[in-house]
């Protein structure tokens, strides 16, 4: 491995691509006066090449990664700013630029790099204006998302975590639907408010522990803010501050309301990244910070989280059933599925946490695919009203098949990855609290109701709307987009073990703390 900074390179590679793209743009524009397709070809092919190479880089990182050892790997550690200057010129304390991955984060890194090229492919035909900026915004966003998952310093994590708001805000605000301004403001302000409380908690933790190194904090935090006799203390406040941020991001009921708006207004690829990666930052945050750093507070708040999760699952499913907009329906289904993630994480059992991680990966693929599926017919008909469609199966057989697969996966049918995630989180939840698992199981039934209704109303039946007569089936590009998603869903559904092996060594140390707590 040597001294080569593989993670930094992977993180900043898309950013370099974006800078390159923005700087060659002038040449492209002046080379052909009003040829938009020329610009679009240059932009998207650059985007695809850069993001594909990032994917390869992340695969190289995976190759160097050894899942059988505990702790963080591929470390990079440089002093960044702050701290005190020693006599001999070295610095102690301060904020560090520290990167590294464990099993959990490398999975999410792979998910990110896997989805981004697909986003470019999918939006090639649908984005017609400001293509260069569009591609650049996605590449910058990719850099920041990778940074979130690789940071091993809380402050660095925060910088990436919050920085991701800027490109996403611009993506929704420029290339979004009619209500895009409202949606992008809501997205930004909700997330920012939550995160700022976390920032204050980070500062407070730094002042106590003298470092913001995540690995160190995971060790010392439980001791520094030890809770005596289950009394409400500083640890609980810190937990709440982190919770404020991650609950909004995930999102949990009742702070989920930004999500349907953001999803509906965002361009298709924006929805894919939002559902596929950005929401996962919430779950990642719980696993990386809340559980290891504030174990007693996590146990203390477990019933509350369970209650919110069950409410999210049941409520969002019921709300989803009443939606007339396809994207909104899938957005609410995301809220429900994220409820399974929190349920699994806060069960503090190996099964539950592994299930939650699996659910995050699987939901990233499935919901991404579902948003792409909506995007396919939206590009053709420019509406997402469910009542507009019907009988698509007669015109779009391949589309109907793909849609069928992901409907089943979203419902959690055995054989698809959705099943594994849901069943494991429910088993984990059952071990911790029977009522929570029961509530979640109710949500599974509801999810079948709304997904199958959606599928029946759009795909089955005869075509009643004459505008649909000329609708065409998936193009080759679209098939290329869906192929990897289909493969991933089925492979993970049939053989989920690699994910568990990968995550095992990151889950075990988290849970060992809880075993000693007896929680």
């Amino acid at each position: 491995m040597g001294e080569f900074a593989l993670l930094s390179f992977t993180i900043f590679f898309p950013l370099l691509g974006a800078i390159l793209l923005l700087s060659i743009r002038k040449v492209a524009a002046s080379g052909s006066e009003d040829d938009v397709s020329h610009e679009s070809r240059i932009a998207f092919s650059t985007g695809i090449v850069v993001s594909a190479m990032t994917f390869i880089l992340s695969l190289i990182a995976l190759a160097y990664f050894n899942p059988s050892i505990e702790g963080y790997q591929l470390l990079e550690d440089i002093h960044w700013f702050g701290g005190a200057l020693n006599e001999d010129g070295t610095m102690t304390g301060g904020i560090r630029y520290k990167l590294g991955v464990d099993g959990l984060s490398i999975l999410l890194v792979l998910l990110t790099t896997f989805l981004t090229p697909l986003c470019f492919l999918a939006s090639w035909s649908s984005i017609k204006h400001r293509v260069t900026e569009y591609v650049a915004a996605f590449l910058i966003l990719e850099s920041l998302m990778l940074g979130v998952f690789c940071s091993l310093d809380l402050m660095l994590f925060y910088v990436f975590f919050e920085g991701g708001l800027i490109p996403m805000f611009i993506i929704i605000g420029i290339w979004g639907g009619a209500e895009r301004i409202y949606a992008s403001f809501k997205f930004f302000l909700y997330t920012l408010l939550g995160s700022l409380f976390m920032l204050i908690a980070i500062i407070a933790m730094y002042l106590q522990a003298g470092t913001s190194d995540i690995a160190v904090l995971q060790d010392v935090m439980p001791k520094l803010f030890a809770v005596d006799d289950g009394k409400f203390g500083v640890q609980h406040l810190l937990w709440l501050a982190f919770f404020a941020s991650f609950a909004v991001k995930l999102p949990m009921w009742p702070v989920h309301t930004w999500l349907p708006d953001a999803h509906v207004q965002a361009p298709t690829a924006g929805s894919v990244i939002l559902a596929g990666v950005l929401l996962k930052m919430g779950g990642y945050g719980f696993l990386r910070f809340s559980l290891p750093m504030f174990p007693e507070a996590s146990v203390y708040f477990q019933p509350m989280v369970f209650a919110l999760s069950v409410i999210a699952i049941v409520y969002a499913s019921i709300v989803a059933f009443r939606q007339t907009d396809m994207k909104k329906l899938i957005a609410y289904s995301s809220v429900a599925h994220m409820g399974f993630v929190t349920l699994g994480i806060f069960s503090f059992t190996e099964t539950g946490v592994q299930g939650a991680i699996f659910q995050m990966i699987s939901h990233g693929v499935i919901s991404g695919a579902l948003f792409l599926i909506v995007g396919v017919i939206y590009d053709r008909m420019h509406t997402r009203e469910i009542s507009f469609y019907g009988g698509l199966v007669s015109r779009m057989p391949i589309y109907a098949t793909v849609f069928m697969l992901f409907t089943m996966a979203n419902v959690g049918l055995p054989g698809t990855s959705g099943f594994i995630g849901e069943i494991l989180t429910m088993i984990g939840g059952y071990q911790a609290a029977t009522w929570a698992a029961a509530g979640a199981a109710l949500g599974v039934i509801f999810s079948a109701v709304y997904m199958l209704t959606l599928y029946r109303r759009t795909v089955f039946g005869v075509i009643t709307n004459e505008k649909l007569e000329g609708i065409s089936d998936l193009t080759r590009t679209e098939m290329i987009v869906f192929a990897p998603l289909v493969v991933a869903t089925i492979v993970l559904g049939v053989y989920p073990q690699p994910i568990f092996d990968m995550a095992h060594m990151s889950v075990e140390p988290i849970l060992s703390v809880f075993a000693s707590l007896g929680g």
């Binding site: 702050g82 304390g93 919050e162 409380f197």
Partner: protein, 474 residues
């Protein structure tokens, strides 16, 4: 006269005083022929003065204890002088096209800087007052520099009347402090008994200085002056004098009243909280971009005051770092505002920025970065400013204002995002007309400065500014 100590402690100010007087003489002889060149000449003098303050960064005592500089104040001085120099260079195109080019402009700026230098180096209430007045009188005239414009004259008059009132309050506070503590020297005041009379004087001093930093509830002049005064003057007001006022405020409270932190902490906290709230809500409905950034500056002074309320040990370094980042990003933002020129003159409505990303992409990218920086969103520089300020507040246990700070920064995002959305999502307007090279350069440089790459620079500043007190995140 001990010339060695004077040169060590006050050489930049001596240079400014000398150059200012020389410029008056030259200006009187050559009149308008000197006008164009005066801007460049004074900018060079200011840069030299800034470098001098960095070279002689250790400073020292001079003029029998009336004057004291240390690395902290010298760094603040350097920031002020550099910002003024940049603001001056940015002014020339505007002054020429608005037919305002007169040699008095540069002279007023140089005397304003002399005032800042004196007030920053003050170790005595009298020195502080002299500095504040020199700065203030130059500023009043600058605000009314476009004397044919009703708005500009109104701005100058308002600023003058209210500013004089504030100066009077400072003077009254100073005399009370003198009467009850027996001295006007910071060091002696610090050692004397703190009694009710001194407390009254202290409150009056805080009131007057809160006016100078445009903190609520003494902020009312700010929007009017920002809107009325010529834009290059506002560019100047928004950067250097803000830093100077805040740091002189800090040195007074830290040096003379540092031991009675508990007596003024609450007062400053309340001012900070009020400023942040008024800055956030006041700007929401503004459509004039200068007025909007006036409210934004009120809010930002509130954040700086958090660091002030945290006290010397915890807040001094954070305060200076915050103000320096703030001043440089203000230069960039006002550079963009200075570029907002169409046929028939300057335009100031935020809707004029609509579609800037298609008409002038580079300016749009810069403005986006600068606005997000002022809003305090990572990974831009303004975030690190807010970070160290919040850190100071948390360390000092000032939870209520830290929470107010969080909430008001979310509220203030409302109008910052409005600007961004106009730039990127609005209907395309025709491009602005011929921006001068200096302005574009400044905007670009300020944008680059707000990027995290330059956090190394900030780290260095922290080490210099905080060396004597302890570093943020130390």
């Amino acid at each position: 006269m001990d010339w060695n100590s004077i040169i060590a402690a006050a050489s930049p100010e001596l240079l400014l005083a000398f150059a200012g007087l020389l410029a008056v003489v030259v200006g009187a002889i050559y009149k308008d022929a000197f006008a164009r060149i005066s801007l460049d000449a004074v900018a060079v003098v200011l840069v030299v003065a800034g470098i001098l303050s960095l070279v002689k960064i250790e400073g020292g005592l001079a003029f029998g204890g009336l004057w004291e500089t240390d690395p902290y104040t010298n760094l603040a001085k350097a920031v002020c002088y550099f910002c003024s120099a940049i603001a001056l260079r940015m002014a020339s195109q505007y002054l020429v096209s608005e037919k305002l080019i007169r040699f008095e402009y540069a002279i007023l700026v140089i005397f304003a800087n002399l005032g800042m230098g004196i007030a920053l180096a003050a170790n005595d209430l009298m020195t502080l007052y002299l500095g504040i007045e020199t700065l203030g009188l130059s500023s009043y005239v600058l605000a009314a520099f476009n004397r044919d414009s009703q708005r500009s004259s109104e701005a100058g008059l308002k600023y003058f009347v209210l500013g004089s009132l504030a100066s009077g309050i400072i003077l009254y506070g100073a005399s009370l402090v003198y009467g009850f503590s027996g001295s006007t020297n910071y060091d002696v005041i610090a050692l004397s008994d703190f009694n009710l009379g001194v407390m009254f004087g202290l409150v009056l001093l805080i009131t007057g200085l809160a006016f100078k930093v445009s903190a609520a509830p003494l902020h009312v002049w700010t929007p009017d002056v920002y809107q009325g005064a010529p834009t290059p003057v506002v560019t100047f007001f928004a950067s250097a004098p803000k830093v100077a006022a805040m740091v002189m405020f800090a040195t007074l409270l830290f040096e003379a009243f540092g031991s009675v932190l508990d007596q003024w902490q609450d007062v400053v906290s309340i001012i900070a909280g009020a400023s942040m709230i008024i800055g956030a809500f006041g700007a929401l409905r503004q459509t004039n971009i200068k007025r909007l950034f006036a409210y934004s500056s009120i809010g930002n002074m509130g954040y700086a005051l958090i660091a002030l309320a945290a006290g010397q040990e915890k807040g001094a370094a954070a305060l200076l770092v915050y103000m320096a980042i703030y001043a440089f990003s203000q230069l960039g933002i006002f550079g963009v505002i200075l570029s907002m020129r169409r046929r028939g003159g300057m335009v100031e409505d935020i809707s004029e920025l609509s579609g800037l990303s298609t008409s002038m992409p580079w300016l749009a990218v810069c403005m986006t970065a600068l606005v997000f920086s002022v809003a305090g969103i990572p990974p831009l520089g303004g975030f690190f400013g807010k970070l160290v300020v919040f850190q100071a507040g948390v360390e000092a246990g000032l939870w209520p204002i830290v929470v107010i700070g969080i909430l008001s920064s979310v509220v203030s995002l409302g109008y910052y995002l409005k600007i961004i959305m106009l730039i990127w999502g609005g209907e395309k307007m025709p491009a602005f007309q011929g921006t001068s090279g200096t302005v574009t350069f400044t905007v670009t440089a300020a944008t680059l400065l707000v990027f995290p790459v330059f956090v190394i620079l900030i780290g260095w500043m922290m080490a210099t500014a905080g060396g004597q007190f302890g570093l943020p995140f130390g």
